[in-house]
Amino acid sequence: MQKVYTRIDSIAGNVITVRAEGVRNGDLAVVTSAHGESLANVIKLNHDVVSLQVFSGARGISTGDKVRFLGVPMRVSYSDDLLGRIFNGAGKPRDNGPELTENLIEIGGPSVNPAKRIIPRNMIRTGIPMIDLFNTLVESQKLPIFSVSGEPYNEVLARIAMQAEVDLIILGGMGLKYDDYLYFRDTLEESGAKNRTIFFVHTASDPTVECLLVPDISLAVAEQFALDGKKVLVLLTDMTNFADSMKEIAITMEQVPSNRGYPGDLYSSLASRYEKAVDFEGAGSVTILAATTMPGDDVTHPVPDNTGYITEGQFYLRHGRIEPFGSLSRLKQQVNSDTRDDHRALMDGMIKLYASYKEALEKKAMGFQMSEWDEKLLKYGEMFEDKMMDLSVNIPLEEALDLGWKILAACFEPRESGIRSELIQRYWPEELT
């Protein structure tokens, strides 16, 4: 299977075709050109015409360059040696460390049998009240952070990575600005979390095809660690870049675009990655947090839209805060009944009051009369935003709950809070004055 083909028929975008026999769909090949070697994989077969996407890009590839098929699909080495290391999207080291070639596992493997899944039951604590208290992150959840360029979504991811009680963090960077890559590396290093972190990083200047491989390679490794009993948190940033790379390849392959140029299988492609989030019975788990920037802050754009249909909720990050409206953790019901008995009531009560605050604010802006109740709401809203929503707040859930009661007590009479009397009797703080 080591026959070398020396005639490249066509080169379009990052896709080349050669005439070859005995090749299998998905197989890996090495393309040797004047600029060095690059891996490529088979994405289409038509009689003896084989289409390959070249990982490092087709720029500079000559029609006379060599293509050697390896007869195996894309794989990645799996061992504890991965910990603390940094790789690119093709699995090659970018930290000057040794290349890992042992114990190779396939990437993009089959999906988990739904009958073997279990109902998620463990909370992941992040120290961010807007998550822990209002939209709890749950082990094995898949959750995107919907945001726009310029928002601190990478900072939020890094913070969660440092604080989350997990065994292992895998960071999959796609189209990451070099600065952001350095930020992740340095922040995790400083916090001492780096030796339980594995990086698969594709920066904005790297070849597009490598971007496509990042989620698969990250999740394949995560899955293996989970099977070995580890709790793994996978951070993917930014999935919109991943979708854009898919679009690029699809257009090159002359596929009929469906919506704003994205290929028809955008949903399936995103889903097959996100669905890797799982809690294995008797073993570990994979939790996925993914930043998804919304082009033009438009949640109906195909990427966030399809993502929302796949994931178990979403966090909206706007103006440096996690928005209470729209943000949703679909799995919070599974865990927030066993935290503290005031958790659910406080969560609902505070959000309803915050919604009333927004209405009062609108009323004020329209110039309508403010009632005494409206004034109370305005005070509440401001306190809520300062003390709860601000991202610099970093407290455990229990403290956040206590803080919630304090804010309520500072603004309202107990009966105005809309919370069950029995809870008020136990948790309402004594006069603070």
């Binding site: 739904p114 009958a115 299988d265 009369q369």
Partner: protein, 587 residues
């Protein structure tokens, strides 16, 4: 027949091109031999000696020159006793058995027997010499709470078929011969309790189809009262993500007054199926006293499972539904979500390089959706009994915008439309069914005039509410303000229902009638109210009581107390009915 086989000539995503020898037919199932694996696929286009096959598995590792075997059959499901409580993938592969064999992951190319090899207690109904046609009952076996009819296969050609032999009462393996029939012209068939049927062909072994009229109660106030579903009817639930489609489907699967529920989880989250899977065996069905699982079949092809099998999953579901309908049962098929199935079609259409229609969906999208929903229906069977298949499908429109091809194609063919709105779900008003946009062509089990009048009130209240945004409360007349409050009241205490509350989550019909009648009195009356403040406080008090009432069990001692209190509160301020309402009340 000459040897029929093919050789792979190309692979593109989940489509494989094949050069074949001999005759093959459209939609024939073929197996691609890759190493020691046999990958199931379906012929979807034939041109000359070349065919395109959609593969129901991942296509990695398939190479040019791989051999393809043709099965001589269309994609079919196995029908027989033992289907209930099963969890299948889109191709009727039993997932728990697969897990037992293959572990955590779905190994491709492994196809297990859909119906377990099991003995059943058979009681013959037909006798030797009886004339039979397709769908005639040969005997029965007890399957859980049902008497499962063992029928003559639906593909039996017309002719003078008679029973030649039939087994006596006793236990037989599901695949043992239990009867033989012959047509007197040399045609003879040996029958067991199972047979297969192609999923894309509707089962038509019935006498006639009837107009669906009888309401199918699903214990949801907004649906049963305002936008009802009929037994044998169809409905759709389009909505943006997070609007509560799946929760609504889940509640329906628990509470619907039907014999059998089939859940076709098509291209959606695996986690949601797991909830059903783990919960249903624990939950009791109050109507039968047995677990919900005993009346449920799950067909799940979640989003990360191979795309082509997604399309198959809804057909697998509906075929099993039709099979149980043939026994005179009421079956409900819940498909979540039909958009994913349409997308799967779009993907294949793209690979076939067909000329794309709107949003790249194929031109035949509408007719395919229509023929799927047309498989619902209320039918009269050969023995005079009636059976029904009701289909409820969710739609996941891109961007939550209903003006897209799948929603539009679906709206044309369904009998009821429950549109979920982002606005309502953001305001936590669940179920987020938009009362102004939704509709139903089926008769409501509650007084038609009252329901129509209440719905009209919602429209009028909405107008006032829009106006109030401009002129403020100050600029609204007391009458209009009260109208607005009444609209809010109807929404808060009737259209909204807490699916996490044990009592409120399921509201039986008699209770709906009771609550609605009382509420109608509030909506349709003039009251002694001097100011807006007084009006708001009056409605607020009523709201609180209705909500408490809704959350109180029927046999709770407080139930009647609340009812009395509400009546008392109304009577205190009551002046008279509005003119139109008086007419309705007097009949």
């Amino acid at each position: 027949m000459a040897e029929r086989y093919g050789l792979v000539t190309g692979v593109d995503g989940n489509m494989v091109s094949v050069e074949f020898e001999g005759d093959i037919f459209q939609n024939e199932v073929g197996f691609i031999l890759v190493g020691d694996q046999r990958l199931k696929s379906e012929v979807i286009r034939i041109t000359g000696k070349s065919a395109s096959l959609q593969v129901f598995e991942m296509t990695g590792g398939i190479g040019v020159g791989d051999k393809v075997e043709f099965s001589g059959e269309m994609l079919s499901v196995e029908l027989g006793p033992g289907l209930l409580t099963q969890i299948y993938d889109g191709l009727q592969n039993p997932l728990p058995q697969l897990a037992a064999q293959c572990g955590f992951f779905l190994q491709r190319g492994v196809y297990l027997k859909p119906i377990p090899d099991k003995e059943w207690r058979f009681t013959p109904v037909a006798k030797k010499g009886d004339k039979v046609i397709a769908g005639s009952t040969l005997g029965t076996v007890p399957e859980g709470i049902f008497s499962h009819k063992i029928m003559v296969p639906f593909d039996l050609p017309k002719g003078n078929w008679v029973v030649e032999s039939i087994k006596k009462e006793g236990s037989y393996n599901v695949r043992d011969e239990i009867a033989t029939i012959s047509d007197g012209k040399g045609g003879k068939r040996s029958l067991s309790m199972v047979f297969s049927w192609p999923i894309k062909r509707p089962i038509t072994a019935y006498v006639e189809r009837l107009q669906p009229r009888e309401p199918l109660i699903i214990q949801s106030r907004p649906i049963d009262t305002f936008f009802p579903v009929a037994k044998g009817g169809t409905y759709c639930i389009p909505g943006p993500f997070g609007a509560g489609k799946t929760v609504l489907q889940h509640m329906t699967s628990r509470n619907a007054a039907v014999d059998i529920v089939i859940i076709a989880a098509c291209g959606e989250r695996a986690g949601e199926v797991v909830e059903t899977l783990k919960e249903f065996p624990e939950l009791l069905d109050p109507r039968t006293g047995r677990t919900l699982m005993e009346r449920t079949i799950i067909v799940c092809n979640t989003s990360s499972m191979p795309v082509a099998a997604r399309e198959a999953s809804v057909y697998t579901g509906v075929t099993i539904a039709e099979y149980y309908r043939q026994m005179g049962l009421d079956v409900l098929l819940l498909a979540d979500s039909t958009s994913r199935w349409a997308q799967a079609m779009r993907e294949m259409s793209g690979r076939l390089e067909e000329i794309p229609g709107e949003e790249a969906f194929p031109a035949y999208l509408e007719s395919v959706i229509a023929s799927f929903y047309e498989r619902a229906g209320l039918v009269v069977l050969q023995d005079g009994s009636q059976g029904s298949v009701t289909i409820g499908g969710t739609v996941s429109p891109a961007g939550g915008n209903f003006e897209e091809p799948v929603t539009q194609a679906t709206l044309k063919v369904v009998g009821a439309f429950h549109g979920l709105s982002r606005e309502r779900s953001d305001a936590r008003k669940y179920p987020a069914i938009d009362p102004l946009e939704s509709w139903s062509k089926y008769p409501s089990p509650i007084n038609y005039d009252k329901v129509e009048w209440a719905r009209d009130l919602l429209f009028r209240a909405n107008e006032v509410s829009q106006m109030m945004k401009v002129v403020g409360e100050e600029g609204t007349s007391l009458d209009d303000y009260l109208l607005y409050l009444k609209g809010e009241l109807l929404d808060d205490v009737y259209l909204q229902q807490n699916s996490y509350d044990e009592i409120d989550s399921a509201c039986p019909l008699d209770r709906q009638v009771l609550v609605f009648d009382l509420l109608f009195k509030v909506l349709g009356s003039k009251f002694k109210l001097g100011s807006k403040r007084e009006a708001r406080s009056f409605i607020n008090d009523l709201r609180q009581m209705f909500i408490d009432w809704n959350g109180t069990a029927r046999d709770d001692k407080n139930f009647e107390k609340y009812e009395k209190e509400i009546n008392h509160l109304i009577d205190e301020k009551f002046i008279e009915y509005e003119r139109q309402v008086a007419k309705i009340v007097e009949g």
